[in-house]
Subunit: 356 residues, 4 copies
Amino acid sequence: MSGSTYGKVFKITTWGESHGDGVGVVVEGCPAGLPLKESDIQKDLDRRRTGQSKVTTTRKEGDKIIIMSGVFKGKTTGTPISMRVDNKDADSSKYELIKHLYRPGHADYTYDMKFGFRDYRGGGRSSARETVGRVAAGAIAKKLLARDKITVTGFTRQIGHYSATTVNFKEIEKNIVRCPDAKTAEKMVDAIMQARKNGDSLGGVVEVIARGVPAGLGEPVFDRLDADLAKAVMSIPAVKGMEIGAGFQTATMTGSECNDVLVMKNKKVTTQTNNAGGILGGISNGMDIVVKLVVKPTSSINKAQETITQKGKKAEIRVEGRHDPCVAPRAVPIAEAMVALTLIDHLLRNKTSQLT
Amino acid sequence: MSGSTYGKVFKITTWGESHGDGVGVVVEGCPAGLPLKESDIQKDLDRRRTGQSKVTTTRKEGDKIIIMSGVFKGKTTGTPISMRVDNKDADSSKYELIKHLYRPGHADYTYDMKFGFRDYRGGGRSSARETVGRVAAGAIAKKLLARDKITVTGFTRQIGHYSATTVNFKEIEKNIVRCPDAKTAEKMVDAIMQARKNGDSLGGVVEVIARGVPAGLGEPVFDRLDADLAKAVMSIPAVKGMEIGAGFQTATMTGSECNDVLVMKNKKVTTQTNNAGGILGGISNGMDIVVKLVVKPTSSINKAQETITQKGKKAEIRVEGRHDPCVAPRAVPIAEAMVALTLIDHLLRNKTSQLT
Amino acid sequence: MSGSTYGKVFKITTWGESHGDGVGVVVEGCPAGLPLKESDIQKDLDRRRTGQSKVTTTRKEGDKIIIMSGVFKGKTTGTPISMRVDNKDADSSKYELIKHLYRPGHADYTYDMKFGFRDYRGGGRSSARETVGRVAAGAIAKKLLARDKITVTGFTRQIGHYSATTVNFKEIEKNIVRCPDAKTAEKMVDAIMQARKNGDSLGGVVEVIARGVPAGLGEPVFDRLDADLAKAVMSIPAVKGMEIGAGFQTATMTGSECNDVLVMKNKKVTTQTNNAGGILGGISNGMDIVVKLVVKPTSSINKAQETITQKGKKAEIRVEGRHDPCVAPRAVPIAEAMVALTLIDHLLRNKTSQLT
Amino acid sequence: MSGSTYGKVFKITTWGESHGDGVGVVVEGCPAGLPLKESDIQKDLDRRRTGQSKVTTTRKEGDKIIIMSGVFKGKTTGTPISMRVDNKDADSSKYELIKHLYRPGHADYTYDMKFGFRDYRGGGRSSARETVGRVAAGAIAKKLLARDKITVTGFTRQIGHYSATTVNFKEIEKNIVRCPDAKTAEKMVDAIMQARKNGDSLGGVVEVIARGVPAGLGEPVFDRLDADLAKAVMSIPAVKGMEIGAGFQTATMTGSECNDVLVMKNKKVTTQTNNAGGILGGISNGMDIVVKLVVKPTSSINKAQETITQKGKKAEIRVEGRHDPCVAPRAVPIAEAMVALTLIDHLLRNKTSQLT
């Protein structure tokens, strides 16, 4: 039973493989009447695409979006919005050489176990290329959220041992690692270049902050806003953990330290601290939503690794493709998209919480 | 649009409030023919219930399970299994005093914002009492998993600054904090007793390990096994973060350190390390599934805290109820249940992945 | 994969067997703030229950509803409303005699094929007793609809060869067959009594009319309002067909006869005729919604019938229980409930169709 | 909340408008390993397409299917199968003339009410052109069903006042109205040609018979096989009613006439008659599944009709486009598709009914 659909009211279904004809998404549940054109979407795809800087893979995909349905005279019609991006620069030849090997850290073995065989070209469906559809749909979600003055901003908090110590939103898109702290950004770039030189890769932490989210979003007891955000970001390739607000730090806090004190500020209910990360009891409280996710170091490395063949024979592998030495910078727009998709879904779901 | 349902094939819907008539669950999708009796379920409820030791709240709920449907002559019939536990020791009187105050760290304000008003007695629907239904359903899930030799074991990995350094499964249920390391357990108990004395509370980390899970479970790209586990455990009250395998540590690893090398062992594909926590590309690889979740310190503390009233007036609150000074020990069976529910759902979903 | 849930936003899950502990329903998605008490629901259950007149079965079930959750201080809280009715007058003894026989027209054989065995007492889950939960949930749906001035009225259009030729809504609940035409009602009663005397049973047609439904409900292309109504009423036991508006008569109409001409009436868009039954392109057009459904004659008859045993041996059966000789009159509140549930679900779903 | 998805395990999402870029479908849940090529699908699309005979519209759409994902080396991979057909012969010019008029019998007014505006070109999303995606997905469903020796055959049972009196499966595709009775077929063709001459249109009845369906499919109590079939066929444009087996005739039968007697035949449980249409208690019993559906006469007719403008002014309309004078013949492959999609979904859902 397939799992390529996300969301309940604002619902997306992605399709496509790394080296197939293309990738795409069908967006259902977008309200009618939203002005929408391809350039609204292209913008975010350009932040996600390969080959955008020296810290990303050199595979060059133009990633030109085509809206195939659901928009008429520049506005959404309320019917499914189908979008696609054709694959262009897919070079499958090198995958022929390793099609009988299981790459460590990749989904090769697990796809074989699940489906009996796999599209081995570029990871097939398990490739991060699938996230093109998410980012396209996320761009629509952001446009809808913007109408309610909700913004979703992602950045690279940490790469390897370097963590941003200040957060300046204006800095984020000025550097190629998308770090909100210019000084740390430089160190991150150096660390990545060094890792590439070593034929190795680095992990990192991406953070997403949503501002302007009204109190009341989230559906107890399972579709809590934090639970759905968790699913959303954990479904991104390479993500191994996530936290909301103070997250794992709360393990060592006391209740009196951790509880955020409620106060009135400009006639608005607010909290003095935000350890909760904007969510209490699974429902937004009007403060910033703060989500962090960890991305593991890229599994494809240009170093010899021990592994086995499909038949269980010992083998050595060196993955020579064009890969990102650290996926964090390109994971930023993907994480933003997943957070935005979750928020718009809950914003729409919340329309029926109370009698009006 | 309500969110009290979890799972797609093995599906549960919980209902009930802390101080209402009772709490319960309807389990759909349990295959016909499973031997099932109330004592199978009572066992886990007893591990979850209040008043079981000096580190838990003193509220005494017998939590006697009643199976109302779906079982005939000792076997499941394939139709919905409806179960309930009547509430007995609910004392709502003290909540009358604070019904106009927003307790810091609780869902009081957010429920009001979402629904316009709230059942203020004991947290109403936001109370952890709701998890009775989850644990009951989880007991059925575990019984089904056991048929495939899959076991799900939870324990307290950390409380405050004390972390288990060894994991001895046999030790877990021997101490009242459910720590797999007897020595650390003692320190944890002391720390909790000290926190209670201070009128304060502690956070912690719960870990769940699933053994015997076959390779192939998980549905790309959104219903990845790790994404669904994330949603599952993040939907537990008080949980603020989660990770799979090496989790947040992977941020500081290199690819060559993080990748788990595949090897044959007893003619079985296995990995030398398990940084992946048993999941690659969102699909299980046959290794142990390792999930960690952090629970924040209990929000109800017996210390004066600043807050506001429903009308936005400044106020002071001291929550005098009977509360767990640390929820980690009682969260263990709940976390087990959520992991078991996720696994059985995916085990059943996987029946249609390949032609047979 | 179980199928005991109906609806997407206003969602119900029913549980329970004919001769088990009881039957019930969990209602999710009811907006917070609706005044609700047990007597609101009891009213419709009394119209559905057994033993209410000489044309129904003599089994006496009080069918007393208990609301277990989701209501606080007389209002819905927005959380799941769990309700149950305990079984009282279940007499399982006579089913022991026929437990190895397959009753013609019943689900005995099909349940055995699906689940491997079955609860043979009174039809178990396949019994119409399951519809108690639907009627209870439907009463809440009606109460919500009434706030928007939408009413849902069912009646018996036909029993055997007798059809109502006039429709007087005030007459419906005045006769025991719920026929809106007093004269035909008498003939229907006679026909039923005669059938019972013969140890036989009769079929009939139930009609439901929803008035005040606004234009715009229904979600193309699969969740059309008519498609969902079809599913709703076809899921009632014994129903073998359904139609909307002119239904099967349209087969012999021409387009110029069938098309309903649009006109303005009291400044409102309306149609001169209503062959469409209030639905065009799967979306309501503001006219009355008109649904008809056919119920087959009761399968349990007090006549010898040929059949087979579970082992495939030829046998004779005579079903001696207490059965309705015609289910149409009691199907009326059930059909109303299913139509009401479908309408409220679509009314809530429609809240997000357009930007506001 | 959109409704363009059908099915739970074998799930399809269609997209596209009559005069947009194209139409398509994403199929989720198709098991891996099914041989699949475009010609498997083209075959059924050719039976559905316009311009295939003198009784259909003259719009010429080649309807060439493109499989964009989910197939590798000629086999399904278990991941979403995305397919599209580009629109070619769309002539929108004549719709400009009537864009402010509401065509009687069409969804113009209802779409405006729902979404605030509409794509008026060729009916936009409400056009039967949307069913291209259903037929494409249905072709895959049929291929899967064929592996279990299940066949799904549709035909025209009735057009206007002419009904097939014999059913010869081999005759169906030999005549342009798809009638299984050659003599009646001729009369149907004449009737249609006459209606076209009159600038009018005819209704009809389509029947679908599924043979080889095993006993046990269908999920009580809402996802009954008959309830899901009802939804499936009622979601086809222009369908106003449906019945299973003896359907509306059961209203005038007695129980002793209607009950199908169970007998053993060739060591198989079977019934002497099939009034049930292969379904009891919502679950298949191994007999032929027999579904009938009525299609109203085409709403677009070349005759002057009274109507109103968007602003509520009285107007006259004559729809001059290229339309089918009777949609029944082209509805046959669409109805087959919807039945096949329902059956494969339930066949897959049924894999988890019992412990194995």
